[in-house]
């Protein structure tokens, strides 16, 4: 891997990380959508610098779709019933997860292989998706179809601004 790809990888990783941090702390729908879009752009850049051009384009399209969904102004705000203590326990759990995964990455002994495929690999990935692992592709297509149909049905019903107000 040459220096240009390495710089692209680290810049994209930084963009994805900053986008994720902003996603955690920014208020408001459109700001979160923007942060998710930045994360998607960073992840697509990581894939592109790792010679996975096709996966980069798919990730970019999917994450921009996620960002547009999150940035919508008219979906309902639902607050969690979990208190501040449980949120802090969850944050500590995420930190422990980071430590565990980083330790596994640092101490792991991995086989190194030479990469022979090209930078885009559309044909090879298509062969995998539609010939080698067609059942997995069908399963994910069915999952997405069920999710989008369920979302469309649930979206048709208008709900009050806050559940707690509706119960009063």
């Amino acid at each position: 891997m040459d220096s240009l790809h390495a710089i692209g990888f680290y810049v994209s990783a930084a963009l994805a990380g900053v986008g994720g941090i902003l996603l955690a702390f920014l208020p408001g729908h459109w700001r979160r959508g923007l942060a998710l879009g930045a994360t998607g752009l960073g992840v697509a850049g990581i894939y592109a610098s790792l010679s996975a051009g096709f996966a980069a384009i798919v990730v970019l399209v999917c994450y921009l779709g996620c960002a547009l969904l999150v940035a919508r102004p008219d979906y309902r705000t639902v607050e969690s019933a979990a208190g501040g203590l449980w949120r802090q326990v969850g944050a500590v759990g995420a930190a422990l997860l980071l430590l565990g995964l980083a330790y596994a990455a640092f101490r792991g002994r991995f086989a190194h292989a030479t990469f022979y495929d090209g930078p885009f690999n559309t044909m090879t990935v298509a062969r995998l998706l539609f010939a080698h692992d067609a059942l997995a592709t069908d399963a994910v297509a069915g999952l997405v179809l069920a999710a989008l149909v369920g979302a469309a049905i649930a979206w048709r019903r208008e709900r009050p601004r806050d559940e707690r107000e509706g119960r009063r």
Binding site: L23, G40, Y63, T77, S80, L129, V140
Partner: protein
């Protein structure tokens, strides 16, 4: 400056943990939902990294395939979550 499998796995670990943090930290459930695509992105980066640096036998681009499927699944999950949250009525 070079990129190795270990640096890719560090980035993947960071994204996965960041996604878990977003899901745990946000009080608003629709905001917590956005942690899911970040976690999936972390898993996808790990798969693509293994496909790029460590795939010695079998289909070498299996990791890229899994990354594609994870991105599509993330879109479906966010769509379902936003749909289940529902439209806010105008008052």
């Amino acid at each position: 400056m070079s990129v190795t499998l270990i640096s890719v796995l560090f980035v993947a670990a960071g994204l996965t943990a960041l996604g878990a943090f977003i899901a745990a930290w946000n009080r608003e459930l629709s905001a917590a939902l956005t942690g899911l695509p970040v976690m999936f992105a972390g898993a996808g980066v790990a798969f693509v990294g293994v496909a790029r640096f460590g795939a010695t036998s079998g289909a070498p681009l299996l990791g890229q395939e899994v990354a594609v499927l994870l991105a599509i699944a993330a879109l479906g999950a966010v769509g379902l979550g936003v749909g289940l949250a529902g439209r806010e009525s105008s008052r």
